[in-house]
Symmetry: C2
Subunit: 428 residues, 2 copies
Amino acid sequence: MALSTQPYKGTRDFYPEDKRIQNWMFARMREVVERYGYQEYDGPMIEPFELYAAKTGEEIVNQQLYWLIDRGERKLAIRPEMTPTLARMVAGKVHELPRPVRWYCIPNFWRYERPQRGRLREFWQLNVDVLGGDPLLADAEILSLSYDLMRAFKGEEHVSIKLNNRRLMDHFFGTVLGLSPENVLKATKAIDARAKIGEEAYRQWLTDLGITPEQQGQMEEFFHAPFEKTAEKYPCAGVEELRTLFRLMAESGVGEAVVYDPTVMRGLDYYTGTVFEMYDVSPENRRAMFGGGRYDNLVGLFGKERLPGVGLGMGDVTLRNFLEIHGLLPKLEGTIDVFVGLPRLELRATAEGIARACRERGLNVMTPLTADGFGAQLKQASKHGARFAVLLGERELAEGKVIVKNLATGEQLLHPLSEAAGAIPGRS
Amino acid sequence: MALSTQPYKGTRDFYPEDKRIQNWMFARMREVVERYGYQEYDGPMIEPFELYAAKTGEEIVNQQLYWLIDRGERKLAIRPEMTPTLARMVAGKVHELPRPVRWYCIPNFWRYERPQRGRLREFWQLNVDVLGGDPLLADAEILSLSYDLMRAFKGEEHVSIKLNNRRLMDHFFGTVLGLSPENVLKATKAIDARAKIGEEAYRQWLTDLGITPEQQGQMEEFFHAPFEKTAEKYPCAGVEELRTLFRLMAESGVGEAVVYDPTVMRGLDYYTGTVFEMYDVSPENRRAMFGGGRYDNLVGLFGKERLPGVGLGMGDVTLRNFLEIHGLLPKLEGTIDVFVGLPRLELRATAEGIARACRERGLNVMTPLTADGFGAQLKQASKHGARFAVLLGERELAEGKVIVKNLATGEQLLHPLSEAAGAIPGRS
């Protein structure tokens, strides 16, 4: 039986036109984060299973993790996210690394999910983290950088940064409503899942956590109150952090982009302070684009010094959907500068000489790998999107010359053999 | 118990200084292959197990593959090499893709091996393949490109391309010695393993395959004979291909780099013609750097049209060792252009304004994320390798000016606030 040409469900084949788009997206990401002084790092695709069992959260570990046992009986997991690897690596050199530690990477991740719009089993994600420094200045930087990411994609007018704080949530659910820390976590998961599971299941979930109908009313009020009202009614450290962060964002010139939203929870268990979501507020794509938050207790899991951090994760699937919906994907050009024809095999040494000279000049050269007539080869050159063609005509060669054809304008010029490579302009 | 900070055995953490080296190596690779008109593609990290069971070879599939069962009971494998994915993707669009198909990628692979010098469980590998075109012209291109890869790393003087042909091997072992196709494959594996297993085990292996002592003598002679002698004694299609390829390489200006070596086998079962190895011939590092070969029957496994191809795979671990041994790794500079100091929190809005203006100019900017004195912050700036620092002195600010310090020369100049960003030259 013939093997299937389909990739594994929930994964993508990147044919060159798709890879070009992905590379373009990644290049924009790199530009932005490097302008903030972040340095690229990377870790292994597979980590010990325990690394995720510790803090990543029940749903991912129990339902979504790809795990395996290696031939030496070690239980391993394919990374579903980067932060545990980051924390491990930072902990490993915590006394040597210059601070603040500003790192980024764009790795692929695996989660066993039902494939659907915006969710695949293999996806790439820009991860940007800063560890150390004043926590709120660091939070503000990650938020400004998030906004600049959207600006780099010309998408800033469609989005808003929804801001919340886990300490405010802990205060409200723990101190005000009196829930145990464990039930606070469960309540936040219910809130996260609300839109997906529907009102009835949501209310049942809360009731099962011992949250009375009266308290549920108090929650509704809390979720709909503007920041100043909550700040007045429930003063706490989380409120102070939010207040400072709004001021810092205004200082950074992006105050307008940030709004308070107490329903933003972010799924990961390890967040301890600021949490945020970049949200597409346009009617045609109302959804979270990406997000992040502060985690103060991760590096400490490795028995070293505590080193608090904050980070963001921006996935490639959601971003590409966003860019397509808003018409923000550019038309990317091909990468072939010049096609050097081969009308007869006997002329290969000549053709190779020209191709080599073009490559030395830094041009991207394509050769046909079969001898064929002008017409067929010009067709091939256009199919591959070449900008120029060098044609070896018998009559011209007899005079030591070749034809250089501009495939965009159709203009043809004769050049001496040794000057053909130099006659082709570089990519502007 | 604290979690370990060590990565899984046989894998690497890429701290920024390592990632910078890897990125530098990958950028050189990209430059070379794009100058030959190759386009980047990528496929999923995980494929159906059957994809490798078909043709990758017994050792990899039975002893080295990382495999798992997903939550839907599918047997999957983490890719140990790229060619099966490439063949699957090409087969999937075999009628649409413009030919020749020239593709490359630099993915990571996993093999369960005993970690040792040059061999790790996770490694990256440049894969370059061309499918279609005249087979020998395509083979010649892959060989020229291989040589240009070594040139791009300034390593060409240390290496030699060892060339062989599977059809010549099939002729010698099959027709001349009379081995069955299955035993020919096994004999090539014995030859591949010879240096590793020692002479005695090697001879025993051959004897077990029914190769008589007399035939073993014939083999020794065959392995040591120069090309012209073999060509004369064992004329066959493989000999003709080798002869043509030597001529084509001379035409391409790299004839000197290529030598005939009948002991080059390459481990993969799917090779059908040309096989080669880039070999470091220097006394301090005698070893195969990378290699490749022609596979004519892979795309056909998917029940579509046959489309023969040839490719190379160049691993990052061996390459980095090579560059280190020969002193060819450049000193890579940091990426921070300017450090904008923060002496007091009250000056953050001013500092942010300067940082933002620098970023708009395309400069990579670092800010300290804590307020501190000049001395401490300048130390921080140098630690991160910044080129310039912008310092907000009280006296200078009172006059609307800031200090711009060149951290390489120590030179300090005063600039009006609004002109500070413009005063910092871009990276040359």
